[in-house]
């Protein structure tokens, strides 16, 4: 298992963002759904080793991120795209991706190929030498995805990766997710249920810091039959689970 979580909590002052999550995940694409403020981003940040948990057990790639040495090992195999991507506007796409390839300790001989591959996979090959300040929002998002996958991570955490992508790019991105999910554990936090339906083999729904549903997209769809609101079957399943939790 690449992700092993039990009883995980995280508090920010008085607010409890994550209130006891149990989760295990191996290779495959794992969708994380939930309304705003459900705790998805906090859970993802803990899995990205950016913030420590307040309590509970967290193991990633078979290692404990609480230990300095093991955290470094985890980070070598980690790809992370945060909700808000920070970037230096003076970098070109290639420089941006290369910088993270080098920081993630990709073997120097492999860096050129890895950078080129990552940039091509997100469809930015023709803008490889463009400065980040000149890119559109969707292109910036794709540059962010490129840096996340440049080290061929075994654990890939993507927070709202498709925000700002055009429909054609989203379709391409779903294909990319499926490819990556064959070898790695890919966790995708999103509000777009169609992405989950198209790319994820498994989906969890978070509400008020807890996991309210954990199963396949088909199981989530089945929860919405005859219940819930929404235009698509997954949306109906999503709203039905939330209604059930809230009642």
């Amino acid at each position: 298992m690449n992700i092993e979580i039990s009883g995980l909590t995280r508090r920010f002052g008085r607010a409890q963002a994550v209130a006891g999550v149990d989760l295990e995940a191996g290779p495959g694409v794992f969708g994380l759904l939930g309304p705003n403020g459900a705790g998805k981003t906090s859970l993802l940040r803990m899995m990205a080793t950016v913030i420590p948990p307040s309590s509970g057990r967290l193991r990633l790639l078979g290692r404990d991120p609480g230990s300095q040495g093991q955290r470094r090992e985890i980070r070598r195999g980690l790809g992370y795209l945060p909700q808000t991507l920070g970037y230096y506007p003076g970098f070109t796409v290639v420089e941006f991706v290369e910088y993270f390839a080098l920081l993630k300790e990709v073997p120097p001989a492999r860096v050129p190929a890895a950078v080129a591959s990552a940039v091509e996979r997100v469809g930015l090959g023709d803008r490889a030498k463009a400065k980040l300040r000149n890119l559109s929002g969707g292109m910036l998002r794709r540059a962010g995805i490129a840096q996340a996958i440049v080290n061929e991570p075994r654990l890939l955490l993507l927070d709202e990766p498709t925000a700002g992508l055009d429909p054609e790019q989203r379709v391409t991105f779903r294909t990319l997710l499926r490819d990556l999910g064959e070898q790695a554990t890919v966790v995708v936090s999103t509000h777009l249920v169609e992405d989950v339906g198209a790319a994820c083999g498994r989906v969890a729904l978070m509400e008020k810091g807890r996991i309210a549903f954990d199963g396949t997209p088909a199981e989530l769809i089945s929860r919405g039959v005859g219940h819930g609101t929404g235009d698509a079957p997954l949306e109906r399943g999503y709203s039905a689970v939330l209604q059930q939790v809230r009642s």
Partner: protein, 214 residues
């Protein structure tokens, strides 16, 4: 042109990967801009000496050099800000070393440039006091960056500068206000070294407080 066309250009240049990483890190922290600003400080110091804005060797003569040394510290402190935020923090082992190297290199550059700016005139306190003051003030700036974030890190040296100016003009001395102490005061040198060490360790280990949204 596609990314594949760029393959030789990514790392195929004569620069090894380590140097490429250093170059990109320095570019991301706007170190070239910082070096230009530090050079500006050195020129300002040179002008101050040339036009006799600094006269004698008493406390009043030390105010302007101290102001310029603080400017250098503020510039170094604000370079600690990372534009990449969490993404960069979730990477491998090189980042602390890059932060350490950047801090040490910029501090050395600041001290060197300012010392060069004093040649051939005489700076009150001499180069020893300049080195001590710059190192200590950089330490204050780095600690400020760790607490307030890189963008606001200049607040620490500004506050310290105010206290140091008061100590200079009122002849009140304590080793913790090292700019007001004589150049050969060992306790003052120790305090400045401690501040620099603490600041450097804080920045190396934790980095500047994340303010990605800024």
């Amino acid at each position: 042109m596609t990314a594949a066309d760029l393959r030789p250009g990514v790392a195929g240049r004569s620069w090894p990967a380590g140097l490429r990483l250093v170059r990109l890190h320095l570019a991301g922290r706007q170190v070239p801009g910082a070096l230009a600003a530090l050079a500006g400080c050195a020129v300002l110091l040179r002008c101050a000496l040339h036009w006799h804005w600094i006269q004698g060797s008493g406390p009043s003569a030390q105010q302007l050099p101290l102001l310029i040394e603080s400017a250098a510290a503020m510039i170094i402190a604000v370079t600690t800000r990372s534009p990449f935020g969490e993404v960069e923090r979730a990477t491998g082992r090189w980042l602390p070393w890059l932060r350490l190297g950047t801090t040490l290199a910029l501090t050395a550059a600041a001290a060197g440039m300012l010392a060069a700016g004093t040649v051939p005139a005489h700076l009150p306190g001499g180069d020893l006091a300049l080195l001590r003051n710059v190192a200590g003030l950089v330490g204050v700036g780095l600690l400020s960056a760790a607490v307030l974030g890189g963008h606001l890190s200049w607040v620490g040296p500004v506050g310290y500068l105010g206290l140091a100016e008061v100590a200079l003009t009122s002849a009140r001395t304590t080793p913790w206000i090292w700019p007001a102490c004589p150049p050969h005061d060992h306790a003052a040198a120790l305090c400045a070294t401690l501040a620099f060490t603490a600041g450097t360790l804080a920045i190396t280990w934790r980095g500047a407080r994340d303010t990605t949204h800024e």
